[in-house]
Amino acid sequence: MEISVNGKPVKIEIAMNLAQFIQSRGFKPQTVVIEYNGEIVKAQTWEGIVLKPHDRLEIVTFVGGG
């Protein structure tokens, strides 16, 4: 199935929850905030969110800025 991650299409071969997806992509969970279909979802809830086709994820982090 295909989901959208930070505006780009991403193919997922096996069913997984959000926590597994974050881990599989090499993100450090404590350094990111996730918007799942437009809603901010806390890290404690990631395991309960099973990804489905056309889900939209925004994964953001802090960077240098003024």
Binding site: G26, K28, T31, V33, V60, F62, V63, G64, G65, G66
Partner: protein, 257 residues
Amino acid sequence: MNDRLKIGNQELTSRLFLGTGKFSSNKIMPAAIAAAKAQVITVALRRADQAYPEENILNFIPEDCILMPNTSGARNGEEAVRIARMSRAMGCGDWIKIEVISDNRYLLPDNQETIKATQILAAEGFVVLPYMSPDLMSAKRLVEAGAAAVMPLGAPIGSNRGLQTKEIIRILIEEIELPIIVDAGIGKPSEAVEAMEMGAAAVLVNTAVATANDPVAMAGAFDLAVRAGRQAYLAGLGRVIQSNASASSPLTGFLHE
């Protein structure tokens, strides 16, 4: 000297806010922050790219600093609100610098959209510090909207051109009860001194430090400048006379008399 700057519920001893953009390496940052004696540090929020797992910038910012994420990248108030909420979800406090920019050439902030975002976020309990184009009526509306301070620009972002908007900033300091923090444009310590002598509550500096040959030494220079300017403001500047001169030494008892 008990001269604290109160913003929200925080009392600050440092009036130099430091941005973290444009440093050649994150590794310089702890020393620059220490040299600046800065307590308020800005960061930006961006999409995380797993292909380039960057070092976490928070590892380079001392934990006792107040983090002030900005909403850079927002083109309207709605986008600024979204970025602010995501920033707060990072769990690093309630401060937010509103930055709404739709002008790609001069990067001037959109005051109207900034006011909208300020109102929404202040109502949600954020400590809102809006970056704005210097304008008295907009500043008044930011006060009404619940801003914790008002941050007019001295010159376009990253330009290092100094206090081009000096006259309006002077008026804002006079007319607005909230702290006025000069954000953007300050390129030299002398310009920070000038802003502080005028009565600015603080200055926010990034490019001037980050692009200096020696950012750590420059951070120290800005610390001295901000403290000198503040002390001069508190001392009250001596008067200016418009013509001729006024002797500093007595005009009596000359040896030729």
